[in-house]
């Protein structure tokens, strides 16, 4: 059962007015950006050596870690010729005073499912290449999203962390033994990467009062009525949408938000690319 959120952060109404007034003038409450620009974003790869792939994303003060684990398992009955991709998100209680320990709530489930669909629908990972023995043994790829610090816009940070961890991943060593079983040695990584066909990011646009703003921080999110999450691939196709939040949107707002998302997406793709090409000096702080 989904219940209207009843334990909400309280944002002083003066603060709320300030956020709205600034936005109306094309400014943000953090004083350093406009409505079209995400916060500083940094992607770090290989942060958990034991995982097949991992990444830490810092989007402003929001921190999300993603880990990719792989194992050999059975395919789904209706897709015997495809590997299995599973996304799971944990809102661990150290990330926010609003998070309590326990199984994933509707927000964590929604987040994981949006990331999952955004990867799956466009075929970001070529699951057809993850088959060991059709109908019997395939690779199961787990993406675990771990929210470490929640300062708003978990969607974009999580999607970026998932994508980065997938790109960071290397297949573990495995061999088929005579019984037909496949033994995986998680201690030994090969050089082989996952078959990534598309890179996907999401851009979240919040509606605050009458204004739209990309990448809301926690305070902005708290005073926003509704968020629209666009998943986009590198060629600009829409590969997923999620309206999230108690509010509603006009048709024009939906389309304006799409324009804003398309304009902001390259910032995320660039952060991803920078992490993958370690030649750069590596921004800090």
């Amino acid at each position: 059962m989904s219940v209207t959120p009843f334990r909400l952060p309280v944002v002083a109404s003066l603060r709320k007015e300030a956020i709205e007034e600034l936005l109306a003038r094309g400014l943000r409450i953090d004083g350093v950006r406009d409505p079209f620009t995400p916060r500083n974003v940094r992607v770090e790869l290989g942060v958990v050596e034991k995982a097949e792939g991992s990444a830490l994303v810092k989007l402003g003060n929001t921190q999300v870690m993603a880990g990719v684990k792989m194992d050999v398992g059975a395919p789904f009955r209706d897709t015997p010729d495809q590997g299995v991709l599973t996304v799971h998100a944990e809102f661990v209680p150290l990330a926010s005073p609003l998070f309590e320990p326990g199984p994933p709530d509707e927000n964590a489930i929604e987040l994981a499912r949006v990331v999952d669909r955004s990867l799956r629908e466009v075929g970001a990972v070529d699951l057809g290449q993850l088959v060991i023995r059709p109908g019997d043994k395939v690779w199961v790829v787990w993406i675990d999203l771990y929210i470490l610090d929640h300062d708003g816009n978990l969607f974009d940070a999580s999607m970026l962390a998932a994508m980065a961890a997938l790109l960071d991943a290397r297949m573990p060593y495995y061999e088929e033994i005579e019984t037909g079983d496949v033994i995986v040695d998680h201690g030994v990584k090969t050089e082989e990467k996952l078959p990534i066909r598309h890179r996907v990011v999401t851009v979240t646009v919040a509606k605050i009062g009458r204004n739209l703003a990309v990448d809301p921080n926690f305070e902005e999110e708290s005073v926003s009525d509704v968020r629209l999450v666009y998943a986009l691939d590198e060629s600009g196709r829409i590969v997923g949408i999620q309206k999230s939040g108690e509010g509603a949107l006009k048709r024009e707002e939906v389309l304006r938000a799409l324009e804003m998302a398309k304009r902001a997406a390259p910032v995320y793709f660039k952060a991803l690319e920078e992490a993958l090409t370690p030649a750069g000096p590596g921004a800090s702080g």
């Binding site: 209207t4 209706d78 466009v122 196709r237 949408i241 309206k243 509603a248 949107l249 048709r251």
Partner: protein
């Protein structure tokens, strides 16, 4: 079960069930179908059959979740075990948990919750048979059940899914089109307010396709909400002269 070799768009341009791309399935709406609930409705889009019931405003067992300035909505989208091809476990799946949230957020903007502080309005949606579009059928049924329960609303909401199959945008997709098609975009909203209250896209669309799909959905939602009005008018004889 995956059906091999089905042509979703036939050579004459019609869909596998004979509909044109812009056609809705046969729709049936009935209100007041349950005796205990404060409001109820049964809505069918083709073989998709969804029952909704509303209780409230009332005091829930857990009072800690009440809000001082408005009613809370509690929404459950749930599928009957026999509603799907393979039996569905009755425990709430991750999909049902997400859709309960998405449907609640589709109803929040239109219910006048400020009129009933410190109460809960409960919306229970049971999918009796699932053949595509259950969430949007659920929003439609919930809208009718809320009206039947006498809950004040800014406007009625309705919903429908637009799909993309074999490159063609088609309205009100059924399960075969959903599972074999390239995209499924459920939309719900209140045409009288010009507000979209539910929007998801599972699949891939270009910007142009997206705009066109949105317009197809919006046009259909208008028709669906008109049907809702007619059913309620007929039931409550508002205005007196409905057929």
């Amino acid at each position: 079960m995956k059906v091999e070799g089905v042509k979703l768009i036939r050579e004459d341009g019609l869909r596998h069930d004979g509909r044109r791309p812009e056609d809705l399935r046969p729709i049936r709406m009935e209100v007041g179908v349950l005796s205990n609930a404060d409001g109820s409705a049964l809505v069918e889009f083709g073989r998709t059959r969804v029952l909704a019931a509303v209780y409230g405003p009332r005091e829930p067992p857990q009072k800690f979740m009440l809000l001082p300035d408005r009613a809370i909505l509690r929404v459950r989208y749930h599928m009957a075990p026999f509603s799907t091809s393979d039996r569905k476990s009755p425990a709430p799946s991750r999909r049902e948990i997400e859709l309960s949230k998405v449907i609640r957020e589709a109803l929040e903007p239109i219910v006048l919750t400020k009129q009933f502080p410190r109460t809960a309005i409960d919306v229970f949606i049971e999918v009796l048979q699932a053949d595509g579009g259950t969430r949007t059928t659920g929003v439609t049924a919930a809208s009718l059940a809320l009206a039947d329960a006498g809950i004040p609303m800014k406007a009625l909401v309705g919903g429908v899914a637009v799909g993309k199959v074999e490159g063609v945008l088609v309205l009100d997709i059924d399960e075969v089109e959903d599972s074999m098609g390239e995209a499924d975009m459920p939309v719900a909203g209140a045409p009288d307010l010009g507000l979209i209250t539910l929007l998801q896209l599972n699949g891939v669309m270009t910007e142009e396709e997206f705009q066109k799909a949105l317009d197809m959905a919006w046009d259909a939602i208008r028709r669906i909400v008109d049907m809702e009005k007619e059913v309620l008018r007929w039931k409550y004889n508002v205005g007196g002269d409905s057929k």
